[in-house]
Amino acid sequence: MLQRTLMRLATTLVTLFGVAVIVFVVIRVVPGDPIAMMLPPMATPEDIQRLKALYGLDKSIAEQFFIWLGGVLHGDFGTSITMRQPVLGLVLGRLPATLELSVMALVIAVIWGGALALAGTRWRGSKAEAAIDVGNGMALSVPDFLWGLVLILFFGVLWPVFHISGRVSPSLELPFTTNFYLFESVLRLRFDLWADIVSHMFMPALALAFPLAAIIAQLLKQSLKETMHLDYVTLSRTKGYGENHVITREALPNAILPTLTLVGVQFTFLIGGTVIIERLFSYEGLGNMAIDAVINRDLPLIQGIVILFAVIFTGVNLIVDLLYTVLNPRLRHA
């Protein structure tokens, strides 16, 4: 168990190192010069040289990489070129917005997908199950970006009940000390703010949740239906338990494991989806900042954001992997 964990940890570190190397090399073969974009047109070559030296861009790529890596190990991710602030602070300032959005989407997907799977199992073989299958097929075929646009159209324009841009109404006074607005509004019992924030987050979260909910519904329903044929389920039925009890109490605990692993992997895809969804809904998170950073060629900021995303991705995978070992008795004793 311990050995397995250590092995996983080691491969995760290798992966992160690989990500760092690739990002570093890729953005340094950029033909456009980020320094040239920072200076007024009449800057002299000496000015350019000075600024390059300031950001360490006058050294070789390998040298730059190790200087940067050394900084990273001390928590220094460099300074954003466009915003002239430490990258770490900027990135951590936006991270809560993205985390809240992703977790909200995950919760919606689990509740909705789970409910669909249970309903599909309860009424298996009927028209209701066929309808759920068709709906799942649709939700899976179309990515979050398009669902976001569809939601904007329906709930932002045709029937404007939710906000479709921003994270919170700009007119509101925010008393928050952290950037976890949603979480903190509950702690401070400011339910007026909470309602406003949820109304902003609901559409992007729903767009992100759609495909994941469909995957959960599909897989969980399949494993539930397989479990329903097992002897112990038949036994509990002969004991006189009702169908609802049999599904939720007897079949569900055994059927849930494959879904759980899948949710972990799919959650990383969901987090990756926040990049474009945040852009679409003008939500001030990490993804939106990333796109701006790329458009402005802000190398240190791009690097910081991509590395952070990679840390989140590999971190989620690691947790899921370990959780799977803990939950699966066959692996636990291996």
């Binding site: 690989g18 075929s141 474009i276 852009r279 990333a290 790329v294 458009i295 991509v306």
Partner: protein, 283 residues
Amino acid sequence: MLDGRGKTRRRAGARLWLSAGWLVLALGAALLAPWIAPHDPLAQDLFAGRMPPIWVQGADPLYWLGTDSLGRDVLSRILHGGRVAFAVALVAGVATAALGALLGLLAGFYRGWVDVLISRFIDIWMAFPPVLFSILLIAVMGPGLTSIIIAIVVIDWTRFARVVRAEAMGQGAMDYVASAQVAGRGRFSTMIVEILPNVLPTIVVLLTLEMGIAVIVEAILSFVNLSISTDSPTWGSMIAEGRTSIHQAWWVLVFPLIALFLTVLSFSQLGEGLKDRFDPVLR
């Protein structure tokens, strides 16, 4: 069980035909765009800006699906935008499939250090958020059709490699491969002549799905204004414009969105339908 299978097959059949039908229609319209588009997609008519579609009051009968804020014809722009979408889908899809399948075959059939190396790259690739990765690559290479296609190939080859690797491993353990080797066939030639045909159905399914993904990636990149130059109409750039003027002119967003939605849905449904067709259990 037999009737259940029949039902699944019939549903799969309808799905195949509907999605293939839309794709043929859309591809045909895109190919014929220069001849069938009623207007020049770039021609501005500032006196006819934000004209609603023809069935809405106040429309100009010259512009069937209305005009955008610069007075450009929405229908003509959708038709021309389809050219970009399908070009990216076909070229990027096939190139991604070729690279991914080759690496997957090598990893799955040769095993050993080849497999270790390729699998490690797949792991690293999985740690990148794909949308961010594609935007990053475009920023590096500069906007343009070629950049988009390269970006898609560079990012998505793992989709093919992972699946093909697993299948090639399964096939490699089978008797027919051993007998081909005994008969004196070289290793690489065995891989291409014996293994490839057996994993081809899987590759075709993935390719169809990949084409839908390529269409979306192009749309996303033109949405964030990193696709081809702004004067070439694309569905994504139309959607980006429609998003900003959504309260004044919904049609600028809705029609390209419908085109994009149906195309992506069709590629995906076609892929799923083919998967069922190739599935020996259902056949």
